[in-house]
């Protein structure tokens, strides 16, 4: 049975007990080596989920334009939400991991094996929620759903520490039933609550949320996509292009040959006797740039460096050496 979290944001009080408990149990170091840098964003001073913050409490202060006492009381709201890895049913990070470091456990959670990860960082942009992060040890880190605790029948540290039961741990279907009931109750009371993390969100989230505003308000994408959805298409388009490049190159090669044969000299360019490509070629002296431009642009194109009509064709053997095998084109 899939295990997960149901995080009810309506009862979160922003105490960060979950964040502290997570740090303590998982022995996570303080962000930025404990050097405090205030973000200036409400009570939030860790900013985002990261390699050392596997829980992150968001504070969203919604303050109305009307700052009078009356307007403030009516329109202001302070939303709080304890964010965490969603342990997606279809996990982008797990899909792209090339080492097999990211696995799905017997609890259906998504777990990064630290002894396998080699820090290629593919999982970081693969996660549509920005959960995975690279640690100072060069390896990827994120919430483990307290895999070690679960193996001993204990609930994750954050859920145990939560004083308001905003974070609940259990079997996902049971949690979802609880959440649906809560949504119904809240809606009856006029609160536009909904569950974020049903099947339409990347196949479902084992750690889902009850929200009362748009997902973007909480820093969640309303329509997350999976990273691998264009892989087959991308490879197919690349294959088509490879075919086009091959055909184009072959045509370009042959065209040059034909131009060489039917140049303005009237005479076909002499082809040297067949010599295996592996054998050393005799030395050929350089030609003048006029002929070079002809060779590059084709004899039919007008070019400033083109040989004037008055100039006679180079005499046979002008290259001075017979050893060119006719490749210089100046003698038959």
């Amino acid at each position: 049975m899939a295990k997960g979290f149901y995080t009810d944001t309506t009862v979160c009080i922003g105490c960060k007990a979950c964040q502290a408990a997570c740090h303590q149990w998982n022995e996570l170091p303080a962000l930025n080596d404990g050097v405090v840098e205030l973000t200036g964003d409400s009570y939030d001073n860790t900013g985002r989920l990261s390699a050392v913050d596997w829980r992150h409490v968001r504070f969203i202060e919604q303050i109305p334009e009307d700052r009078s006492q009356d307007g403030f009381l009516k329109g202001s709201r302070w939303l709080m939400m304890s964010d965490v890895c969603k342990h997606c049913v279809r996990a982008g990070c797990l899909e792209v991991c090339p080492t097999g470091a990211i696995i799905r456990t017997e609890f259906d959670s998504v777990y990064i094996q630290q002894d396998v990860c080699n820090g290629c960082r593919a999982c970081i942009p693969a996660c549509p929620f920005g959960v995975v992060d690279i640690g100072k040890d060069g390896k990827a880190h994120k919430c483990t759903l307290c895999y070690d605790r679960m193996q001993h029948g204990m609930e994750p540290a954050c859920a145990q520490a939560c004083p308001t039961d905003s974070i609940r741990f259990g079997d996902v279907p049971e949690l979802m039933a609880l959440a649906d009931q809560r949504v119904a109750d809240l809606r009856a009371a006029g609160v536009p609550a909904y569950v974020y993390g049903k099947e339409e969100i990347v196949g479902g989230l084992n750690c889902f949320f009850l929200l009362v505003d748009q997902p973007e308000v909480y820093g969640l994408p309303s329509q997350p996509r999976l990273p691998s959805e264009h892989v087959v298409e991308g490879l197919g388009l690349s294959a088509l292009t490879a075919a086009a490049v091959t055909v184009g190159s072959v045509v370009a090669f042959r065209k040059e040959r034909m131009d060489g044969m039917g140049g303005d000299g009237g005479e076909p360019a002499p082809v040297p006797p067949a010599r295996p490509i592996g054998t050393p070629a005799p030395a050929v002296p350089g030609r003048d740039t006029v002929a070079f431009m002809h060779a590059i642009h084709g004899a039919n194109e007008s070019s400033r460096t083109r040989r004037p009509a008055s100039e006679p064709m180079p005499a046979a053997g002008a290259c001075g050496q017979g050893g060119c095998g006719g490749a210089c084109g100046c003698h038959a």
Binding site: H230, G234, E256, T289
Partner: protein
């Protein structure tokens, strides 16, 4: 009477990109993976390695003895570049010593690990298989030009030369297939993310592939020209002509890609990176070389003009990868501060 004839035509114009789009572009957010210069260089050099192998093979199979030097040059450049690629890929890892975890299931040695749906896993295997072909061609070239006289290699090549031509063609075709894989998968890898401009860029693999062949043509032209003016003219003319085709295709692909990306193309085409994209990638990398190969300029000597065009193509190819890889990761960074 209503004029209805125009409507379907117009809508077809609008629908063409929309059909490729399949719904609105993804505008969510993923966090940047901090892929920097190592990855930019890998994308560039990997493309060159694959491209030079492809060109050398095509020249070899077309059987014109005048291309002999270019064939050997291509094969002798491809493998060393691939070695550099492997090195920088390993250095880029967070834990470089674990590079082999990409190929072997580290917990079930010696079981191999292959996840074809993961672009990195696919790419590492493509790179590994291509390395075999590239190395074989490298050794062949060294032996044929008398630079390698190691007994086993000589005997091996003598044996291979005795096989039917069809086998040789098949071997080279398979090698080229994996080479194209190496040149193109990097773009697919970029699109297997949730960063909008990358995610929506399903043509990136095709674009990188064309750019890889184009820059490889330029590299070979440059190397041939450096050997001395005029010696390999027929080959250079061929390569320049084929490069022109690649560059026109690349321009078309860039236009189509920007059309598909729509507003999510912002990080690429605006700000400091935008300047680099328009002036560097499109201007220096494509338009200037196309122009230089079209007509004589300033009375420059032909080979010098060709050399400048080739350098421009190479610079453009590197800049393309730089802009594509770096700009979405650091949109707030002004380019001048880098």
């Amino acid at each position: 009477m209503r004029r209805r004839v125009r409507v379907p035509r117009l809508s077809a114009l609008v629908l063409a990109p929309a059909l490729l789009q399949v719904g609105s572009p993804y505008v969510g957010h993923g966090f940047p993976p901090h892929w920097g210069w190592y990855i930019v260089l890998y994308f560039f050099l990997g493309g060159l390695s694959a491209g030079t192998y492809f060109i050398a093979t095509l020249l070899l199979l077309s059987g014109d003895p005048r291309d002999r030097e270019a064939v050997h040059l291509g094969y002798r450049v491809s493998f060393p570049l691939l070695l550099v690629c492997a090195l920088i890929l390993i250095l880029d890892l967070g834990v470089p010593i674990r590079f082999w975890h990409m190929l072997v299931a580290s917990q079930r040695i010696p079981a191999l690990l292959f996840k074809p749906w993961s672009p990195i896993s696919l790419g590492i295997w493509i790179l590994s298989v291509f390395a075999l072909f590239s190395a074989a061609a490298f050794v062949w070239s060294l032996e044929r030009t008398g630079r390698l006289r190691w007994g086993p290699a000589v005997r091996m090549i003598a044996w291979a030369q005795g096989r039917p031509r069809a086998l040789m063609v098949a071997w080279n075709a398979v090698g080229t297939f994996f080479g194209f894989g190496l040149a193109g998968y990097t773009g697919v890898l970029i699109s297997a993310t949730t960063i909008p401009v990358w995610h929506n860029a399903r043509l990136m693999g095709a674009l990188f592939l064309v750019s890889a062949t184009s820059t490889s043509y330029a590299l070979l032209v440059l190397l041939l020209l450096r050997r001395g003016a005029g010696r390999d003219e027929p080959t250079i003319a061929k390569l320049a002509r084929a490069d022109r085709f690649s560059m026109v295709l690349e321009l078309a692909l860039i236009a189509l890609l920007l059309l598909i990306l729509g507003r999510t193309a912002r990080p690429l085409v605006s700000g400091g990176f935008g300047v680099l994209f328009w002036l560097g990638v499109v201007g220096v990398g494509l338009l200037i070389p196309l122009l230089l190969r079209r007509r004589a300029v300033l009375g420059w000597a032909g080979h010098r003009q060709e050399m400048i065009a080739a350098v421009c193509v190479l610079v453009g190819g590197l800049l393309l990868r730089f802009v594509v890889v770096v700009s979405p990761q650091f949109p707030a960074v002004s380019l001048w501060a880098l």
